[in-house]
């Protein structure tokens, strides 16, 4: 048998220490808090960015880690948004409990639909997830008495947060509330991706056949992360409802499923922080571009996406990875 020389710094050290928090992981939070003070006039946009970061983060768990390519993630975002909205219209105005209810409803929908869609893969999976979201949107459209239909759900009243912080006109409470919820969701997502379960999801993404051959209950694992991802998406939807006090049918739309996918691809898939780059990049670009070109701003986003897919696989974080690899070589 061949005896290999022992390497000096082993990969085992890397594996053993991967879950430890590193300095760069604090950057998004410092940035978000700094933005609160530096751009007080942009807090409404800022709040929406945080919500989309959470939505994209939820997608990253399913798509980036477990390799579940979905075109219907708005189904869960929209479910969360409508649950929070309908509760508020019927007098359940306390926001935190409503968030939990939205998460539970979206998570449950994730289990039920996941039990069906996760039996498929590839193009079929793509189509079935899309169909689920489209069916829900059509249902919301038809159930006007409950959802407000095409006019949107109006008359939403949200009680002050923790009984004392009112949702003000400038979006200060909304911004900090969204940031706090995003932080908690990130802590959950981060714990999951560094756990043995999270590593096994990467194994499933890399090679399903091999995972089955090492005795991994692949379907059950994928269903579990799909439900968690759905619950987090539902929380994002509920946040949008509570901070804008309105729900439109668009929260269930194919466009939204596509948009969040584009955000994640721009930032970088399967890296946990792609959402934190892609969502702000997309929304700030949209905000600026739409000012100059309200009709065709999407063209520039499309061009950016084409460039990323052609020249920068892995998005912005993929570029960062390659630069780092080159520096340390």
């Amino acid at each position: 048998m061949i005896v290999s020389p022992a390497p000096r710094r082993t990969v085992a050290d890397t594996v053993l220490g991967r879950h430890r928090l590193r300095g760069f992981e604090l950057v998004p939070w410092i940035g978000a808090i700094a933005a609160y003070f530096v751009f007080p006039e942009y807090l409404a946009l800022g709040g929406q960015i945080l919500i989309m970061v959470l939505f994209a983060l939820s997608l990253d768990l399913a798509l980036g880690y477990a390799g579940i390519v979905t075109l219907g993630h708005a189904a869960f975002f929209g479910t969360g948004a409508y649950v929070a909205g309908i509760l508020a219209v019927h007098g359940w105005s306390e926001p935190l409990s409503a968030i939990l209810a939205a998460a539970a409803a979206a998570g449950l929908l994730g289990v039920v639909t996941g039990a069906i869609v996760l039996r498929t893969s590839g193009l079929t999976l793509l189509m079935v997830t899309l169909v689920v979201a489209q069916l829900l949107q059509e249902a919301a459209n038809k159930l006007g008495w409950l959802t407000g239909g095409a006019d949107g759900l109006q008359g939403i009243v949200i009680a002050p947060l923790l009984g004392s912080f009112r949702f003000d006109l400038f979006g200060r409470t909304a911004y900090l509330y969204s940031l706090a919820i995003l932080f908690l969701a990130w802590a959950v997502a981060r714990t999951i991706v560094h756990s043995p379960f999270g590593r096994s999801l990467i194994g499933i993404r890399e090679n399903v056949t091999r995972m089955q051959a090492i005795g991994s209950p692949v379907f059950q694992r994928r269903l579990r992360i799909y439900a968690i991802s759905a619950a987090l998406a539902g929380i994002a939807g509920a946040l949008l409802t509570q901070t804008t006090q309105f729900v439109a049918l668009q929260v269930l739309s194919f466009e939204l499923s596509g948009t969040v996918l584009v955000m994640l691809i721009l930032g970088g898939v399967g890296r946990l922080y792609g959402a934190f780059i892609g969502a702000p990049l997309y929304m700030i670009a949209q905000d600026q571009l739409a000012k100059d070109d309200p009709l065709y701003w999407l063209f520039w986003i499309g061009l950016l996406l084409v460039l990323v897919v052609m020249f920068a696989r892995g998005g912005v974080l993929g570029i960062a990875d390659r630069l780092r690899a080159r520096t340390f070589r």
Binding site: M1, I2, V3, S4, P5, A6, P7, T10, V11, A12, T14, V15, L16, G17, R18, H19, R20, T191, I192, H194, S195, P196, F197, G198, R199, S200, I202, G203, E206, N207, T209, R210, M211, Q212, A213, I214, G215, S216, P217, V218, R221
Partner: protein, 252 residues
Amino acid sequence: MSAQPALETRALCKSFGALAVARDISFRLPAGARHALIGPNGAGKTTFINLVTGRLKPSSGQILLGGADVTALSAEKRVKSGIGRTFQINTLFNGLSVLENVLLAVGERHGIAGDMLRGAGTYRAVVEESQALLERLGLAADAARPVRELPYGRQRLVEIAIALGLAPKVLLLDEPAAGVPSAESGLILDIVETLPRDIAVLIIEHDMDLVFRLAERITVMVQGAILVEGTPDEIAADPHVREVYLGTEHTR
């Protein structure tokens, strides 16, 4: 060592419509055996492995592991009952490091892979066991490299390392040296030869030198059925085998 065979199949059949790919296969692999399964292409060797591991459902017949009937168990459960396999074509986690390829298998075996709450790195014993396994197979120097960057022969070793990470009682090796230059196939053979005797090994192989060096018994399959089983000498001398498989000019 128990008297029960490590692996046994009873009258195992599999058909796709009118096409019978496994016909009445009754096979015994004693504990600690070194057994080769040979046969021409399309004889149903890999199909047999897929039936045994649960990737395919048999049309009829039984599969027993250590005397226990596992016919109704899923592929995952059978792994837990002590069956490990390698694939004819590399089936690896290409983007992950060699260490992590093995780590996933070892983690599944220890039953920790469903844990969502702790960092994977806090399971130090699992990481160390995986590292030790790589050292045993001479793969330690490659531990940090992504599998896809390894030469094909080294990747074949990772195939075996993953299967060994499951600590199987029955190890099914589907052409472990396929596609490997002969200079390197010796290394793979060395590893198979040094496996501990508490693992029963069933090896599918086309390289006859390798088969005759390793196997204590050989089973020949043709058209989905077992043609003959015997010691290497008996198989080499069998006129039927010479006719259908080895070719008339084969000599040892």
